[in-house]
């Protein structure tokens, strides 16, 4: 289908975009890469009165490292993240994750800010933000607001951003030394929406997890930073410990049922991912029993 009629304005600066948002409020929608918004408009799921195109605000595009902080501008495209040396060096989990985001032609247009603001619960990048402990930076009429990733996502396609705010950047702590990561998702085809996925980061000392962060996606109405990860930290991992963590994880999940999978299948796949992740990160193939899917 074709999008319903709308008015269009090309923002000339962040300030200009914010002025337009404060005048038009919920009637306006920001257009960044358009890879989620335009399909939704073409399917007539949304019909904004005004599109504010921020595509030319090049000051919002790019990756920079300063001290211990990696800053990614909101208009940084998925393809930019894949090619970025800074991302490969300081947030390799993100590089692995982006390779699973849709397809090359989509990654050439889609942006990190758009993906986070869209907040699709099956999307890879929101879960990575939880795992990596990101801070999301938004600007609005009252100035700048810094929001911890674990407070940013509040439901399906829902964030704490107000209609007057513009997501301008995300900040990530640079990858701690000796940390390791795991990314995997189950999907029908490469690039399809994940049925269930896991973005994990860990530090390992003497065969044990000194730290473990497990960001699951497509397991509920928003990405989940699993509290059950704490059951695996600073302990010798045995099949019994792992199984206890898996059942604690199960209590945290609230998966939806859709045409791709039942809730029970998602619960099962989340446990499979947990087991694979732990056995792979610790190089313990003995823990793999029951991890086939």
């Amino acid at each position: 289908m074709k999008a319903a009629a709308f008015a269009y304005v090309r923002a000339t600066s962040v300030e200009n975009a914010l002025e337009l948002l404060s005048v038009h409020g919920e009637a306006a929608k920001l257009l960044s890469g358009g890879q989620s918004l335009v399909p939704a408009m073409n399917l007539r799921l949304v019909a904004p009165e005004l599109i504010v195109d921020i595509g030319e605000l090049t000051e919002l595009r790019g990756v920079a490292v300063k001290g211990e902080v990696l800053t990614i501008g909101a208009l940084t495209r998925h393809a930019d993240l894949l090619k970025s040396r800074e991302i490969a060096a300081h947030a390799p989990l993100l590089k692995d994750a982006v390779a699973h985001v849709a397809h090359p032609a989509i990654r050439n247009r889609g942006t990190i800010g758009g993906s986070l603001a869209h907040a699709d619960p099956a999307s890879e990048l929101p879960a990575c933000m939880l795992t990596l402990g990101a801070t999301i930076i938004a600007r609005g009429p009252g100035g700048e607001r810094r929001i911890a990733a674990n407070e940013f996502f509040v439901g399906i396609y829902e964030t704490t951003l107000t209609p007057q705010e513009l997501l301008v950047a995300v900040e990530l702590p640079v990858n701690p030394k000796n940390s390791t990561h795991f990314f995997h998702e189950f999907a029908r085809r490469h690039g399809d929406y994940a049925i269930v996925g896991l973005a994990a980061q860990a530090s390992i000392k003497d065969g044990r997890f000194a730290d473990l962060r497990l960001g699951f996606f497509a397991v509920g109405d928003r990405p989940l930073l699993a509290k059950s990860a704490s059951k695996l930290v600073d302990v010798a991992i045995t099949p019994a410990v792992l199984s206890e963590a898996a059942s604690a994880l199960d209590d945290e999940l609230d998966p939806l049922e859709d045409q791709q999978a039942t809730a029970a299948m998602r619960r099962h796949l989340a446990k499979v991912l947990l087991t694979r992740c732990v056995s792979l990160l610790l190089a313990r193939s003995d823990l793999r029993a029951g991890a086939s899917a």
């Binding site: 009629a5 709308f6 890879q35 073409n42 195109d53 397809h103």
Partner: protein
Amino acid sequence: MTATIAIALSVNGELVEANVLPRLNLADFLREHLKLTGTHVGCEHGVCGACTVRVNGDIVRSCLMLAVQTHKAAIETIEGVSDSGEIADLQSAFRERNALQCGFCTPGMLMAAQDLLKQSPCPDRERIREHLSGNYCRCTGYQAIVDAIESTAWARTGRRP
């Protein structure tokens, strides 16, 4: 404010100026305003890949880009890369390998395949499949398409299977 907006862009090397409604997507602009009907419109929500074109050198879904967003951009369509001879060998390989049947997906397949071969001259079959994962073909079962791209890669890099 839903009035037309003036845009100026390059399409296959020619300057184009037009007044377009904001809701008009790039695929429809190419097909209906410029009569460049090689760019096909399948799903209109970014899933099928039939509308793949190049914008400033990068492949994109033309159904997911508004014509107004292409102001000052350089667009290349299947007509452009065919006429220039850039993909003549790839097109021959598609023909020789029976990599098309109805032909609906072919322009998008060729745009995506050429994009891959520019970035990665010797891709393995897995890599080819991954790069084409966003392009649907409902006839061939993909095997012959992968064959055609693989043999073009071999020929371009002077290798033998």
